[in-house]
């Protein structure tokens, strides 16, 4: 598709959607959201890009191979379970820590966030891979 309206709109929309997907990812633990929907939103942004421009450009704009993104996501999600093992607790026991970030205040960080982050990448990788494969054919 070669529409200047869609292309221009995509330039504005894509950063917005990506930022929003991160917001959804971060608020996920206690409110609706999380890695899965956040990932789907981000994948939607890249799909929009693929429709407006072309799949090859989308692949290039991702910088990393999609397979690698999936693998990294899996490893991040797995690594969220491992700290608990090191402290002698069962796998995936949530470990929380309060971090003071200058300018924001106290941030409640924990391994479940890491898990969500992994899911986020896996969902992006798989969804975009499926969309691109369909668009390219």
């Amino acid at each position: 598709m070669n529409s200047i309206i869609l292309q221009t709109a995509t330039r504005f929309l894509m950063p917005l959607i990506l930022v929003f997907s991160v917001v959804i990812l971060l608020q996920g633990h206690n409110k609706p959201g999380g890695g899965f929907i956040g990932g789907l939103l981000a994948a939607a942004a890249f799909s929009l890009h693929a429709l407006a421009f072309n799949p090859a450009e989308t692949r290039a704009s991702l910088r990393f191979d999609l397979r690698s993104i999936i693998a990294i996501g899996l490893l991040i999600a797995l690594s969220a379970g491992l700290p608990a093992l090191l402290t002698g607790q069962p796998l995936f026991t949530g470990l929380w820590h309060d971090v003071v970030v200058p300018g924001i205040g106290v941030v409640h960080l924990g391994t479940p966030l890491l898990f969500d982050l992994g899911v986020y990448f896996v969902v992006i990788g798989i969804s975009v891979l499926m969309v691109l494969t369909l668009v390219e054919d």
């Binding site: 397979r67 693998a71 899996l74 608990a84 093992l85 069962p90 796998l91 995936f92 949530g94």
Partner: protein, 509 residues
């Protein structure tokens, strides 16, 4: 201790993810594939030793106690199954290095193999029925891809049948879980076990047990739900067939045994006659189907079905001895069956075909006596010739049947055993023995260097294990009978998972 129980799942996942990350280099993927599966063997043996020494190991995932959270419950039977899965996985990984072509390997063959193993191990370890469903899905997803990988016409035809029937089975399984949860309000198998035992509503319990029997029966390929198996197992590469034949139907059998010991114990009035009938029909149809086939892997596929009948037989009799027989049978069967498929692959590489009639004129024996001997061991074991593992497995089941006077089923089992011998001799005679032992002019399709050492090694190791199981049948039977005793001890399982208070609560409501 709790780490050891989750490692059989973490290890394949990490190896799978790492191999995807290293998708560019096939060499690294192969090394990771072999190293990770060998590590899995070691981990599984350590886990088995731990369970053997300490009793049932329970890990509450994320520290959420049962029945709120999901627990891994590792008893002897589960840990034995993990050991068998790991051994088959390692053999497959080593065999695949040369046995799977580069094109398939470059389409993420090794990562899929790891994920398949993760699903299988997870299914053997979990103590939550919905989690069991999830592990089933994990292993089915990767098996779908492995089956279709390569896009050959036959493969896709087989894959369509396999996928359709397995999705139906999954839907039934999920339905049964839904009803179970609606009725009892829990998905933890230990919690379910005591709630089902206490309920007055026997109608719904019987309905549920039949739903589970059908759902798992499809996956385990019991009569009359087996037809997808011989339609699909001969189509993928030999290494894939081997791991499917060794492990996947046995996950179904494992689930049937788990559910019909822990949740719905065999009822002598209703489930026993039904299961005995199913076991007899499974054995007979399988072995008769095999007798009519002339393709190497099709013969073997039908034999998987008839062997499933034996495992079901032990469960149906439900005495400690019979159940021990089932466990022993599974141990023997996984090793032998995977090995026979590997050898079918070797024979095909040597002679360029796996049609028994076409192999005939120049025997495999003439080309490679070693491969012929390596076939002879598992084949005779499968047929139940002493002193190999299959003989003892059948002996225990027959004795268990005689003890409680189920004459008819024992007669069937023995007839099927003879017919199994017939099929194995047919393969031996047609493919390995027929034709002149030496031949001056080489047949054109022959390839003398067809069998690299990396493919012979797993075959020889599995054959050695078969012989060892036969030679050390005493100690191994001892382990099997303790696993069976643990399976029949429902209260021990519930106490291990929920703690002592739960049992007292039950007694004084």
């Amino acid at each position: 201790m709790s780490t050891l129980a989750v490692l059989p799942v973490i290890l394949p996942l990490a190896a799978g993810a790492a191999s995807v990350l290293l998708w560019k280099s096939l060499r690294v993927q192969r090394v990771v594939g072999v190293a990770a599966t060998l590590a899995l063997v070691i981990v599984s043996l350590l886990l088995f030793r731990e369970v053997n020494r300490e009793g049932i190991i329970v890990v509450h995932m994320g520290s959420w106690p049962s029945p709120i959270g999901i627990s891994f419950v590792v008893d002897l039977f589960g840990s034995i199954m993990v050991v068998l899965a790991a051994i088959t996985g390692a053999a497959t990984a080593i065999y695949s290095v040369r046995g799977i072509d580069k094109r398939r390997q470059s389409f993420l063959y090794f990562p899929l193999l790891h994920i398949l193993l993760m699903g299988v191990c997870g299914a053997f370890l979990t103590g939550d029925i919905f989690n069991l469903y999830v592990w089933f899905e994990v292993l089915l997803m990767s098996s779908f891809v492995l089956l279709a990988l390569g896009n050959e016409r036959d493969q896709l035809e087989g894959a369509i049948k396999y996928v359709t029937i397995n999705l139906m089975s999954s839907a039934l399984f999920l339905t049964a879980i839904g009803i179970l949860y609606g009725t009892f309000g829990t998905l933890d198998m230990a919690d379910l076990s005591r709630k089902i035992a206490a309920t007055q509503n026997t109608g719904i319990v019987t309905t549920l047990s039949m739903l589970f029997l059908i759902a798992f029966g499809i996956k385990a390929a019991i009569f009359p739900l087996f037809f997808w198996l011989p339609a699909s197992y001969h189509t993928p590469p030999f290494a894939v067939s081997a791991i499917f034949a060794g492990l996947l139907t046995k996950v179904g059998v494992y689930a049937i045994i788990r559910v019909f010991t822990l949740l719905f114990p065999i009822d002598p009035g209703f489930t026993r006659p039904l299961m005995l009938f199913l076991a007899a029909m499974t054995m007979l149809t399988g072995v008769l189907g095999a007798a009519s086939q002339m393709e190497f892997r099709r013969v073997l596929s039908f034999h998987i079905i008839s062997q499933i009948g034996y495992m079901l037989l032990g469960l149906a009799l439900a005495t400690p001895l019979a159940l021990a027989g089932s466990v022993f049978y599974i141990m023997h069967h996984i090793i032998v069956k995977a090995n026979l498929f590997f050898i079918a692959g070797l024979a095909e590489r040597i002679r360029g075909t796996s049609d028994l009639k076409a192999i005939g004129p120049v025997s495999v024996y003439a080309r490679s006596p070693l491969v012929a001997i390596l076939f002879f061991i598992p084949a005779m074991s499968l047929a139940g010739i002493p002193p190999l593992s299959g003989f003892f497995a059948k002996l225990v089941l027959v004795r268990a049947g005689l003890e409680i006077g189920e004459w008819a089923i024992i007669a069937v089992a023995l007839v099927v055993s003879i017919l199994t011998l017939y099929s194995m001799t047919k393969i031996w005679a047609e493919a390995f023995w027929k034709g002149p032992a030496r031949r001056e002019d080489e047949a054109e399709s022959d390839n003398k260097d067809a069998v690299p050492p990396s493919m012979l090694l797993p075959v020889a190791t599995l054959a050695a294990i078969t012989v060892a199981v036969g030679l050390f049948a005493g100690p191994i039977f001892d382990i099997a009978s303790r696993a069976a005793a643990q399976l029949l001890d429902k209260e021990g399982y519930v106490r291990a998972v929920l703690g002592d208070e739960a049992m007292q609560e039950e007694e004084s409501p």
